[in-house]
Structures are given as structure tokens and as C-alpha cells.
């Protein structure tokens, strides 16, 4: 008989009413490298088709299945079952409005991402072929461009829990820094202007939950620190 995995999954359906609650499931260990998403898929396909969660690529690229797993944010598709304390508590991302079960409303998160204007901005004429970048300048983008906007970092940040309406959060600021350090971007001053604020940027107290939570092992705290140093250099 296959080894069974015990899970406790957050359930909430506002259309049916009632209080949010945790529901227990038992899922067989399907293979040695089984991931948490495999267990959720088993529940949905074999045990309870009403369980609702987001998923897409299943390979840690799309960032759809950001969840709170045993109290720590992460992607279900790349989190191995092995090593997780059982029962595995699976909850939606913290501090987010739950639409249903494990699906949260990401509108505000993506609105904050839009606020940092995440696209290349230039004032010089468009060159005939392309805007060139040296290998060294390109290398400076490593550690920033890999962000998949899964919101694991931002929703693990206490400063964002307290002031999420104004503090942009680790993910948006990591992306803001990605454009600030891009040698091809010509709107650095405007970008610094947009974030120079006691709440939008400086609400980061370097708690570093973002760094711990990031499934891509990026460091938003360092990116935020770089923006602060850039602002200081501009003033000095």
C-alpha cells in the first residue's frame, strides 16, 4: 500500500457562504520526487473537484501557484513533499483577499507593479538596429530579471501587510531597481522620483522575509537597498 501524505487545505467559497475552514485530505505518495502541486492535483482530480487553486506551467516559471505552505510562502510546483512537516498546511498567500479556496485577488499587486512603469524608457532616437549593451552591463541585471511576479515575497513582507496600500512591496521595488540599473534605460531620474517616498520605498525595514520566501532565490532587500543608495548618491 502506498505511503499516505496528510494535508490540511484552506477552503472558502464566498458564494456558498459560511466561514473559511481547513479541510483534511490524504493523498498517496505517487513518486519519490512528488511536489506539492501533484498532491493538490490529486485532490482535485480524484478526491474533491471543487478545490480551487491557480496553476499553469508546473515548473516554477509562470508564478501562478504561489501559496503559503506550512507558514512559508512558496511555489507548490517546485516544493517537494519530502521534508514538509505533516499534515502539510496549505493556505492562500497572506494578507490577500481570497476569491475562493487558494485563489487570491492579485489586482492590487499588479497595479503596484504597473506603478513602477516596467518597460524601457528612452529619449534618444531609436537606433537603426537595436540598443546595445555590454556583457558587463547585461550581467548587472542578473538577480533582477528572473523575478516571475509570483507575489511570494511581497505577501510575506510585514511592512506590506501593514501599509500595502502605499508601500510598493519587494517585488515591485525589485523590478524598479531592474530598470534603474539597466544601462539602456534613460529615465533613471524619473524612476527615482517615483519611489522617493517615506511609504513607497522607505517602509522597507529590512525584515528580509522577501529574501527567505523568494522561490527563485532573488534578493529584493538588496535591490531596495541599492535604490536607497542611489537616492543618497543623487542628493550628495
Amino acid at each position: 500500500m502506498a505511503e499516505m501524505i496528510r494535508l490540511s487545505v484552506f477552503r472558502y467559497d464566498p458564494e456558498k457562504g459560511g466561514e473559511p475552514h481547513m479541510q483534511s485530505f490524504e493523498v498517496p505518495l505517487l513518486n519519490a520526487g512528488m511536489k506539492l502541486l501533484d498532491a493538490l492535483n490529486y485532490i482535485k482530480w480524484e478526491l474533491d473537484g471543487t478545490l480551487t487553486y491557480r496553476r499553469s506551467c508546473g515548473e516554477g516559471i509562470c508564478g501562478s501557484d504561489g501559496l503559503n505552505i506550512n507558514g512559508v510562502n512558496g511555489l507548490a510546483c517546485i516544493t517537494p513533499i519530502e521534508g514538509l512537516k505533516q499534515p502539510i498546511h496549505v493556505r492562500p498567500l497572506p494578507s490577500m483577499h481570497v476569491i475562493r479556496d487558494l485563489v487570491v485577488d492579485m489586482d492590487h499587486f499588479f497595479d503596484q507593479y504597473r506603478q513602477i512603469q516596467p518597460w524601457l524608457q528612452t529619449i534618444t532616437p531609436v537606433p537603426e538596429h537595436e540598443r546595445l549593451q555590454s556583457p558587463e552591463d547585461r550581467a548587472r541585471l542578473d538577480g533582477s530579471y528572473e523575478c516571475i511576479l509570483c507575489a511570494c515575497c511581497t505577501t510575506s513582507c510585514p511592512s506590506w501587510w501593514w501599509n500595502g496600500d502605499r508601500f510598493l512591496g519587494p517585488a515591485a521595488l525589485l523590478h524598479a531597481n531592474r530598470w534603474i540599473i539597466d544601462s539602456r534605460d534613460e529615465a533613471t531620474g524619473d524612476r527615482l522620483d517615483q519611489v522617493e517616498d517615506a511609504f513607497r520605498l522607505y517602509r522597507c525595514h529590512q525584515i528580509m522575509n522577501c529574501m527567505e520566501a523568494c522561490p527563485k532565490e532573488l534578493n529584493p532587500t538588496a535591490a531596495i537597498d541599492h535604490i536607497k543608495r542611489k537616492l543618497l548618491a543623487r542628493k550628495s
Partner: protein, 119 residues
Amino acid sequence: MRTVKEPGAAHSGLSDWYWQRLSAVVLLLLLPLPFYLLTAVYSGNLDQQALLDIIDHIYSRVLHTLLILALIVHAYMGLKVILEDYVHRIFWRVPLIGAMLVIMTGFGVWWLALIWAWA
């Protein structure tokens, strides 16, 4: 649904961040000195007259002044951030920060008066 506030940047925060770090460096350098004096007193290596002689010295007074100013600036910045984090209603937040500023300023003036023997 969380309300999205987009009033733009207030171009503030840099000076607070700067002063908090600057005051932290001053505290890091100067705060061990009074503890060193206290240890010397409690271990019996420094009597009352010797302690007074040290505290009365002009260098001591200057360093003491720097220490108390850094302490107040650092504490004010830190407590202000805590109030901003937890007190979300402007109706309460602004008077509380203002009251804290007044109390800390009064405390600082009183302490400086003691250092420079105005009291």
C-alpha cells in the same frame, strides 16, 4: 477589496533614513563609553570625585551632548516609523507623533541643561 492609493511620491524619507543611520553610527561609537564608566564605578576603580572630574571635562560634555542628541534623533525616527506602521488614522497619528516630538525635545533640553549645568 483593498483601495489603491496613488498620490505619487512625496519626495520624503531620504533625510529620515540618512539621519537614522548617521545617529546609529554615533551611538555605536559613543554609547559604550557611559557603560564603561558605570563598570568602572561599580568595580570600585572610580570614586565619585573622579567620576565627576571626568563628566565635568569639556570633552566629556561635548561627547555627552553628541550622545544625547544622537539618542533622541534615533529614538524619534524609530518610534515615528512604529507609529506610522500601526496607527493608520491621521486623526491619531499626527498628534501622537507631534506629542512624541514635544516630549523628546523637552527631555533633550532638560538633559543638555544638566550636562552644561544650566539647571
